[in-house]
Symmetry: none
Subunit: 215 residues, 4 copies
DNA sequence: CATGAATGAGGATTCATTCAT
DNA sequence: CATGAATGAATCCTCATTCAT
């Protein structure tokens, strides 16, 4: 009876291996330029075998992304629901949640951003795109709620909730992508964490500024 | 007598048309997924004709990007050399320069960012990549110099020049890509300018904060 | 009125130039691999212009070959009709005729041999092939006649007229092609003439051998 | 258990089929004019399948030629090392070795000669050309050594070793190509063997001639 | 007359995907 | 279950050829 279970586990392990390989290569080469053969030879399986685990290239790609976005959403939600944190604490918490997601699955997160950025969409199912968009929306909504709260409490200067949400998110993604890009130019050290912290410090300081003659 | 000139102009016009079509499609689909046929049918020319204007797909792609990066560099340089501006003015000036470049050629700028982000690199000539990286480096160096100056003059809290440069750049690119991405979700209005202004306001406020026991 | 003539002459000159260029390039690259553009840029004309002189690539190619074969036929015929020569003299005369043709138009002669050898025929008109074959046949018939005469006169050991004709011709072409081939390996000196003379000396000696129990 | 072996054999069989088809078509049309589609449809496989057996057109072509040249070299070497043969015997032996190679693989041998003759070289890898040239050189060197020996022993009139080697080789190739060419004119009987024997008889007679006032 | 421009028809090569074993 | 083998459908690119100016 343990046999069935072992089989199950092995099957899952294979699936994981394939996804792990796919992750790296999709990130490195982009969706269109990645071949099934690339992935297959990385996991030392035949291409045909991969097709017995994933219906097609698009499905495989899809399978990678949702997991991570789910993780991100959960992290953000945990901060969002954390009653012990004040508004500023939550902003910083969000940053850490994003960073934690990055640590959890750096490659996939980048992939998602790429997806959001490059229209590999033509070849990706609408369904996946919709799911990704949904999750992103839900995640950002929580961040917006906190910013709104900050405005209500007079901590932040209000009236820019949507914009500020976008700014927080964009600063994170912008830095992530840019640091990755820089690594290609100079693959030395990686300052992502430091720079990200700094960016959120600056933004938070800006947000806390009193609401007077703004500009 | 004007015949030669007219021919010239027509030739240039065709070139422009092709580039315009290419720009859009490369942006929409990414480099690898864009076919010469896509471009050709958009301009209503045969593929072969495109090849008489551009040596190959890579050249065509290259031809698009360098122009815009050059434009950006020039805009940044103008701000950089503007003696009438203080440090804060220059930071805002940089933002406007970036935005101006975006207005000048929104599609290509996005393309460049994609290039920096997605490793379509495998298929793009090293030469082009090097040129793009060079220009980017030069541009960022000017921004760094101004931040340095701000620190020297005690306007900013120093010691983060590189990070802050990256933050300014990343915030811009992050927002640009994100706003584009959002447009796909909801193609309604476009808040890029507003959000960008806001982001730089926040960052500038953060930068001006006194230098005490920061974190 | 001289105008018309000049025009005529210029036209002819252009034709010649084009043929000269074509000759070299066809030889160098073979028929299929030679492009009209190759030829055009060598003569510094546009491709379209070439098309106003020659109906198409095949015609151009054809135009080259017949001239030379005609020349060869004439040379061979002169020897054939030369009453002052004995049989041996004519054999040597044939060799010299071939060599003279080679000197007259080395490139084209090689081209003809290539044509005979490589079936670029698929793309060449049957008409041309037929013409070439005709001329070759006529030429060889004259050589055969002389060998026959040698046999009748008891100078040669008879019964091998056809074979011997082929041998004379093949030795010539074989050497020509081989020497050319060698030049690609080692482009130093060119021993074609010497080797050709030697070959015909050997063959002639062989032919003159008495007719005993041969083999 | 024999499954693996059968698979192996089938794979080899396919490879052979492809090569056989390629051989004929390359010969018939020349390298440049032969399309992968030509070959594929002859073996009733898809073009893609051929690419799973051979990396590209050039490789396929290469795979054909080297085998045969190797065979030729071995045949020549066997004669060369045969201690029971005198100099004349070896010359005749060389001829037979060439002819044997022709019988072994008539199409490919012609292909090689074509390669040596037509500059399909532009499209063929330098590596292959070099290998072919090497083998040819080695083969000819053995023939030259025997001619040299003949001169040393006073059997031949010396001083023409290189030329005579070229003559032997060129006569063989010249006849081979010419007979093939004639077959196109008149595809009746094939006198190659007879003519080749005759040619070598003549040449050998010539070589044996005493060394007096030669010309 | 000469040509720049345009293109249809391939041709080499790749790749996602299927299927029999 | 894993895979080698096969392939249709692209995709990039080339080239002979035409035509309006």
């Amino acid at each position: 009876m343990g046999v069935k279970e072992r089989k199950q586990r092995e099957k899952q392990a294979r699936t994981d291996q394939i996804q792990a390989a796919a992750k790296e290569i999709f990130l490195q080469k982009g969706y269109a330029a990645t071949t099934m053969e690339d992935i297959a030879s990385r996991v030392e399986l035949s291409v045909a075998t991969i097709y017995s685990y994933f219906k097609n290239k698009g499905e495989l790609y899809a399978s990678l992304n949702l997991i991570t976005l789910k993780f991100l959403e959960e992290q953000i939600e945990m901060v969002y629901r954390d009653e012990t944190l004040g508004v500023e604490g939550k902003i910083i918490g969000f940053k850490d949640a994003m960073y934690k997601t990055f640590l959890y699955e750096p490659l996939i997160l980048k992939n998602i951003l790429h997806l959001q950025v490059v229209n590999a969409f033509a070849e990706i199912s609408d369904d996946l795109i919709e799911k990704i968009n949904d999750m992103t929306r839900r995640t950002l909504r929580m961040m917006a709620a906190v910013l709104q709260q900050g405005a209500s409490q007079g901590i932040f200067c209000g009236g820019h909730v949507m914009a500020d949400t976008d700014i927080l998110w964009s600063t994170f993604t912008g830095l992530l992508l840019w640091e990755e890009s820089k690594k290609r130019i100079n693959p030395a050290r990686d300052y992502f964490k430091t720079t990200l912290d700094r960016a959120f410090d600056l933004l938070l300081l800006g947000l806390q500024k009193k609401c007077n003659p703004e500009k």
